[in-house]
């Protein structure tokens, strides 16, 4: 058997086992009682919003967070303008008030702005919020309730894309929605290792004890998530707490974002490599290794398919030349061509497995719809996801690995 087939079948086999395991974990822990704050017990929360040139979205971000259903006497916003050169600070100042503190500092990056905010907050719970993020009015309360368990150091929401319109946004929309189920399954195993920087809640005590955000880290939110796991605390997830983020629309912007995320993931994984192994339970023994094995397989297959397609195109051109580009007769040569194609298609094991994974993805989407409400435009977005996501994912990862191998500089922006 060819090596590529071995790799593809192995990845399918591991994928089926992993999917079964996550589904079993999800259902096993679904009905477990959790320690939750009652309304009267809710702690003081500080929302930290760092911003750099976010003049286009900052007003909407303020409007959404000011509308959240949370006791007003237990809630503050700490806004830090990180040396914006546009009108971000000017707009933010219009919201200054009893519960909204506005600060300005010299530009130093998101981590410096977050650390600055940490010195200004009063809350027992702090929430990092991106300046291009909007929240559902119930999201904050649903998330903060989970901090009643003293072992919980972070709670992540059900993050999704705000009004996906473009081709790339629709693909990302599907990716985010599918992540909702997986994140919940990981939470049931205490194995969440990535939290959205757009909106995540933390116990302030964790930063006091283990330090603030790591300046210079490409994915400082991911670093904090891994640090929480590394120190044996819990990261919870509330998929029914919708948070909306604006996704990149242009190919290059998305590429830059993913390159930063993936290079950051590689560097932070190396930093916390001790998480691999039995000391970290299901996270170290299964979730983390499987995540990396999946990445390895997807990169291998993408690189292989890329070169194979290139060679096939060359072969096909040579063949067409040999028949003097006689397309009509090439297509007519076999009246049974469709029948043979159907036979080869339906007797390809990979087609059967793709069918199984399509059903699994359908189940993930139903779960997302149950938590976030109807999925608008899924009829257009889902086919786009199937056609392009694997290719894009492999491409982003391949490029990120090249950047790490050749030690190329990756910038936050």
């Amino acid at each position: 058997m060819e090596l590529i087939k071995v790799v593809i079948y192995l990845s399918i086999y591991i994928g089926l086992i992993a999917t079964s395991f996550y589904a079993l974990s999800f259902f096993s822990n679904r009905r477990k009682d959790k320690l939750l704050y009652e309304d009267s017990e809710l702690p003081f929360v500080s929302i930290m919003i760092p911003a750099f040139n976010e003049g286009k979205s900052i007003a909407r971000t303020f409007d959404s967070i000011l509308k959240v259903d949370y006791p007003k006497n237990k809630f503050e916003i700490v806004f830090v303008d990180d040396g914006s050169s546009d009108n971000t600070l000017e707009i933010a100042r219009k919201y200054a008030g009893k519960n909204v503190k506005i600060f300005h500092k010299k530009n130093g990056g998101k981590a410096t702005a977050m650390n600055f905010a940490l010195t200004k907050v009063r809350g027992e719970i702090v929430v990092s919020m991106d300046a291009d993020t909007f929240v559902d009015s119930q999201a904050l309360k649903k998330m903060v309730r989970h901090f009643k368990n003293p072992e919980v150091m972070c709670v992540s929401p059900g993050i999704t894309i705000y009004q996906p319109k473009s081709f790339l946004q629709r693909i990302q929309y599907m990716e985010y929605l599918m992540g909702l189920f997986l994140r919940k399954a990981f939470a049931s195993l205490n194995a969440i290792h990535i939290t959205p920087g757009a909106f995540s809640a933390y116990r302030k005590e964790f930063f006091d004890k283990y330090g603030g955000y790591e300046v210079g880290n490409l994915t400082e939110d991911l670093e904090v998530a891994l640090r929480i796991q590394y120190n044996h605390y819990i990261i919870e997830n509330v998929p029914s707490a919708p948070v909306y983020t604006i996704a990149p629309t242009r190919f290059y912007d998305l590429l830059k974002q993913r390159r930063r995320w993936y290079v950051g993931l590689m560097k932070n994984t190396w930093k916390y490599r001790k998480i691999f192994g039995p000391k970290y339970g299901d996270l170290g023994m299964f979730v983390f290794p499987i995540a990396w094995i999946s990445i390895f397989f997807s990169v291998f297959v993408t690189v292989y398919l890329f070169f194979k397609t290139m060679f096939n195109v060359v072969d096909e051109v040579l063949f067409l030349k040999s028949i003097n580009f006689d397309f009509p007769n090439l297509l007519n040569f076999n009246l049974y061509i469709l029948e043979r194609w159907a036979f080869l298609f339906f007797t390809n094991p990979i087609v059967i497995f793709i069918g199984i994974f399509v059903l699994v993805i359908g189940a993930y989407l139903i779960y997302a719809a149950k938590n976030l409400g109807p999925i608008k435009g899924w009829q257009f977005s889902l086919p786009l996801f199937f056609m392009f996501f694997a290719l894009l994912f492999g491409f982003w990862w391949t490029l990120s690995i090249i950047y790490v191998i050749f030690n190329r500089d990756v910038k936050w922006r």
Partner: protein, 213 residues
């Protein structure tokens, strides 16, 4: 700090079993579909063999008409298709699968019966139906070139009305194929024989074939 032991070893075992059942279940479905196709093709082959046999006997014993325009066409239409599906089945079930190999040998006999029948029509009816014998191989070394040449011949077939193409697997363990190779001095795969006497090797374009038709 929380206890980080594995939540449930039983869950891993269960996931392994479910994943394994799904994985091998996928292959089972594929094999079942392939087997159904194998049975269907076997039936078609039997019908085709019967039809050729019937027509030849009809001519030799009862002097029936074989010169009508579409006499040979009726029995030629799905010859190529059957051959390709048998090749596909061979690749799916494996080169050693006895059922498919037997079908392939039988298919080669049908082709030769048809080849003889076409020669008879040419002689008896004064027609000029061209024949091409194509010797291919499913060996990995020759597979791509065999497929390309097969597609090229398909294009030639589409462009020429009076033409029948017969494809033979040179690696098939069959006395008839061996005799055929000996008769026409076929040394290696990818050789084609036009009208029983023009042998071409390493064909690069349809022009090289069509100049002999």
């Amino acid at each position: 700090m929380v206890n980080r032991s594995i939540q449930s070893g039983r869950r891993y075992v269960l996931a392994f079993i479910i994943g394994t059942v799904l994985f091998f279940g996928g292959f089972l479905i594929v094999n079942s579909l392939s087997y159904l196709e194998y049975q269907r093709i076997s039936n078609l082959q039997d019908q085709l063999a019967y039809k050729i046999f019937e027509d030849k006997l009809g001519y030799s014993l009862f002097g029936q008409e074989i010169c009508s325009d579409d006499a040979y066409r009726k029995i030629s239409e799905d010859l190529g298709f059957q051959g390709r599906i048998i090749d596909d089945l061979e690749r799916k079930f494996g080169k050693e699968d006895a059922r498919v190999l037997e079908r392939k040998k039988f298919y080669s006999l049908i082709l030769l019966e048809h080849f003889e029948f076409v020669n008879l029509i040419n002689q008896e009816c004064g027609k000029n139906i061209h024949t091409i014998l194509f010797f291919y191989s499913n060996d990995l070394k020759y597979l791509t070139h065999s497929e390309d040449l097969g597609r090229m011949l398909g294009t030639v077939y589409g462009r020429n009305d009076n033409l029948v193409i017969y494809s033979f697997d040179v690696d098939l363990d069959s006395e008839v194929i061996k005799d055929l190779k000996d008769k026409y001095f076929i040394q290696e795969p990818l050789e084609i024989l036009i009208d029983g006497d023009i042998k071409l090797r390493g064909v690069k374009s349809i022009d090289e074939i069509e100049q002999h038709l």
